[in-house]
Subunit: 258 residues, 4 copies
C-alpha cells in the first residue's frame, strides 16, 4: 500500500492536476479523470467556484465529493494578495483549510517571490491553514518553508508553462533528502519522462497543468502522465541498477555452452 499523507488524508495518486487551459469543461473533466488524480488545484482568482453565482461553476464538473479541491493563489504577486485569496477560497469551500500558496514575482518568468512567500506562509500557518507551497528549487528556501510549518513543499522543475523538465536534478534531490514533509514538483514538467524523473529522484508527487492541457491530445497525455508517475515511483522503490561506463554482458560471460 504505497500512499502519502497530506493534512491527515491518505492519497494513492501522486499526480496532482490543475484545471486551466482546457478547451472546455468537458475536456477538463475527461482529462482529470484519465489522470487518476485525487487532488485538483483551482486558481481562485480565475476560476468560478461560486464567486459568480450566475456563471458555470467548476465544482459542478469537478465535484468536491470526488476530488480534494486545492485552492491556489495563482495570479497573486504579494503576500497580502495571496493571504486574502486563500481566505476567500476557504469561505467559498465551506471552511476548507488546505491551500496551495504561490506568490509570483513577475508576469514574465512566473518565478516565485520567495521572500514574499515566506511572509505569506507564516501568516497562513498562523491562521490555521494547511499550506502547500510553491517555491524555487533552492534547498535552503525549501527547508525554511518546512520550518515555517508548511505541510508540503513544491519546488519548480522549470518555469511554469515551460515544459522544460527538471532543470536542476541535484537541487531537487537535495530538497528531498533534507525534507520531513512531502516534496512535490510543481511546474515545468513537459512530458511523461519528466514526471518519471521527478519520482525517481524521490519526490512524493508532481503537480502539473499545461503539460496535459496543452498536449495535442490532453486526455491521452493525462493517462501517459499517470503511468509516468507510477513508473517513476516504482523505479524509485525498486532501486535502480548502478550506472557504469561498461558492464559485462547481460548474461554471465562464463559458462558458454560451445
Amino acid at each position: 500500500d504505497d500512499s502519502f499523507v497530506l493534512a491527515g488524508v491518505k492519497y494513492h495518486s501522486r499526480l496532482l492536476v490543475g484545471t486551466g487551459k482546457y478547451k472546455d469543461m468537458e475536456e477538463t473533466r475527461l482529462a482529470i479523470e484519465a489522470s487518476g488524480a485525487q487532488i485538483v488545484t483551482v486558481a481562485i482568482r480565475r476560476t468560478n467556484i461560486g464567486q459568480n453565482p450566475g456563471e458555470p461553476n467548476l465544482l459542478d464538473v469537478i465535484s468536491p465529493d470526488k476530488y480534494t479541491i486545492l485552492p491556489n493563489t495563482a495570479g497573486c504577486y504579494t503576500a497580502e494578495d495571496a493571504v486574502r485569496t486563500c481566505r476567500l477560497g476557504r469561505e467559498l469551500l465551506g471552511g476548507h483549510k488546505l491551500v496551495k500558496l504561490e506568490v509570483l514575482a513577475d508576469q514574465t518568468t512566473l518565478f516565485p517571490d520567495v521572500a514574499e512567500t515566506y511572509i505569506a506562509a507564516e501568516l497562513l500557518v498562523k491562521d490555521g491553514f494547511d499550506v502547500m507551497v510553491y517555491t524555487n528549487d533552492d534547498p535552503i528556501a525549501a527547508k525554511r518553508l518546512e520550518e515555517i510549518g508548511c505541510i508540503a513543499v513544491m519546488p519548480l522543475a522549470a518555469p511554469i508553462g515551460s515544459g522544460l523538465g527538471i532543470r536542476n536534478p541535484y537541487n531537487i534531490l537535495t530538497i528531498v533528502e533534507n525534507a520531513k514533509v512531502p516534496i512535490l514538483v510543481d511546474a515545468g514538467v513537459g512530458t511523461a519522462s519528466d514526471a518519471a524523473i521527478a519520482m525517481e529522484l524521490g519526490c512524493d508527487g508532481v503537480l502539473m497543468n499545461t503539460a496535459i492541457a496543452a498536449a495535442k491530445n490532453p486526455i491521452l497525455m493525462a493517462s501517459a502522465m499517470r503511468k509516468g508517475i507510477e513508473a517513476g515511483r516504482e523505479a524509485f522503490l525498486a532501486g535502480r541498477m548502478p550506472r557504469k561506463r561498461f558492464a559485462s554482458a547481460s548474461s554471465p560471460i562464463d559458462g558458454l555452452f560451445f
Copy 2:
C-alpha cells in the same frame, strides 16, 4: 488498438526482456510476468533451451506457448559464430525463424562490430531468418541494416549493462525518422524514465535485461519498466506541449475575477 508487427505477428507489449542475471529461475519467471513482455530473448550460447538434456531448461519456465522466444547471439564476436548460433537456435526451437543478431566487437565495451554485423545479417536474411539486429546508434548503419532486409533495427541507447540511458537522442530520433521497419532500443537503459524517453522519441519498443535483473527489486522494476514504456508511448501519441523558456501562467492571464 496500439500494436506493432514483427514477422507478421502483432504485439501489444512494447517491452522486450532478457533472461540473464536473475537470482534463479523463479525470479526470472516473476520478473518477466510483471514486465508484461510478450517477447523474451534468450542467449543461445549461455542458456539451456534443450542443448543440455539433463539440465534445467529455461523453456520449462518461459514457455514458448506463452511467449515469443527470441534467440540471440550474445557472446558471438564474428559473423560466422553468429550465423552458426542462429542455426543452432532454429534447430532447438523447431524451425523458429525469428532471431536477434548481435555481433560484438570486444568483451570490454560490448559495442557491436557493425561491419561483421552487415555480413552476418546478409547471410541470415538469405538463409530465410527474420532478423532483428543489434547495432550502434549510427543512422547510416541502421538504414543499411534495414536495406539488407532486417525486419527490425535495434540501436543501443548506451553500452550493454551500463544503465546510462540514451546517450544521443538526436541519433535515435534520426534513426526513427528514416525507418520503415520497427526501431527498438536495445541496451543501455537504466531506469523507467530512460525507457519512457526512448518511446517519446518514437521508438517502437525497448529491449532490456540488466536494468530489471540488477535492480534491488527486479520484480517491482519490471512493473516500473512496463509502465514507463506505456507512459512514453502514450506521451508520443498524445503529442507533447512545445518547450518554451517561459510561458503564460497555467491558467489564462486575462479575466481575473478581482
Copy 3:
C-alpha cells in the same frame, strides 16, 4: 578595449580568484600570477591580512599595490556576522569599501541564505560599502540584490567546491538578460570549459578558487582558466553560429568542379 567596471575601476581580466587551499604562499602567488587576475578575494575570517601581527601576512605576497583585494565574508552564517566581518576588513585594509558578501546557510551545502543576504546587503549598502554579492541562481533574488544597491551580483554555477559546472544555464542567462550591474559567476566551476560557458552566456566574469587550487597542477590550470574566460568572452562577442540538427556541408554544396 573590452573591459568592465566595478566601483569606478576598469578591469581587463574577467577572472577573479581566491586564495584558499593552496599548498603554500608561493604556489598561491604563482597561480594567481598565471591566472592574470586583477581582483583577488580574501576570506577575512580565515586569512591573515594584518589581524595577527606575528604571522605571515597574505598581503606581503598578494600586494594591494598590484591587485584589488576583495575581502569576503566566507564562514559567516548570519547577516550580523557578515556585516561585522566586512567592517573588520575595511579597517584592516585602510578604509577599502569593496567587499564580497556571502552569508551561508549551512556547512554542508554552503548554499547562500538569500533572506539573510538581503538583510546584510541592505545594511552594508547603507553603510557605504560597494557590495558584490554571492547568491543562488534565482533570477528574482539576483534582481532584488541589484535593486538593494549591490554593485555586482554573483550567482553560483553549482555548490561551492563542487566543480560541477553551470547546473542551470537558463537561470544564469535570465539573470544576465535582466541585469544592469555586472553578473559574475561565483562558485561551482570545475574546469576551463565551465568558465567558457559562463562567459558565453554573457556573464561579465567568473570568480573561482577550488577549480584552480585543487587541480593537480594549479599553476597550469590557472593559465587554462585565463584562456577559457577569454575564449568564452570572445565567443560571446563574436556571436556564435545557430544550432541546427543538420546543415549543408562546411563548403557550399553547389559548384562542384567535377
Copy 4:
C-alpha cells in the same frame, strides 16, 4: 613544449581549420590567421587550388609555404570518388601525401559512410597516402581505422555544420583511451566551450570550419576558438579537480580567526 606529430611533422597549434563559407578570400585569410592554425583543410572538389587555371587560386592566399595544406574529399559519396579525389589533390599539390578522407553517406545528414570509408582508407594507405580520416563516434570504427593504417582518426562531435557540440562525450573518451594515433574531433563544434570540452576529453586537436565562418564575427570567433583549444588542452594537462556534490568551503573550514 606541448606539440603533436602528424606524418613526422610537429605541430604546436591544435586547431585545424577549413576554408569554406567565408564572405571572401580576405576574410578567409584573416580568420585563418587569427585562428593560429598551422593546418588548413581544402575541399578539392570545391576549391580551386590550380585545377581551374584562370580563376582565383586559394593557395595564393593560404600559402603552402606557411600552412600545411590538407586536401579533403568533401562531397565524395563513394570510396572510388574519394580515392580519385585524393589522387587529384596529390597531383595538384606536387606529390603531397597528407589527405583527409571523408566518404559521406547522404547529403542531408552528412554522416560518414563508415563501410565505404574502410574501403577507401585501405586503398589510400596501400597507395602511400598519409590518411587522416573522418568518421562517426563509434569507438570500434575508430580502432579499425587506426588498424588499417590511418595516421589520425577524426570522429565527429555532431553532424557537420550543426554546431551542436559533443553529443556523446563517453564515446569520444573511449576513442581517446584506446588510440595509439592522434584523435582529432572533426565537425559539430559550435562555440569555444565545445572546442575546450573536446580537448579536456584528451583529444589531440579539433578541426572546424562552420563554427568560425558562420559566426557573426568570424575573425573574433577564430581567436576565441584558438584560446578555447589552448584552454582545454591546458586544463587536460593540469588535471581537473574531482566533481563532488558538495565540498568544504574554498578555504579550509578550520582555523577561523574569530
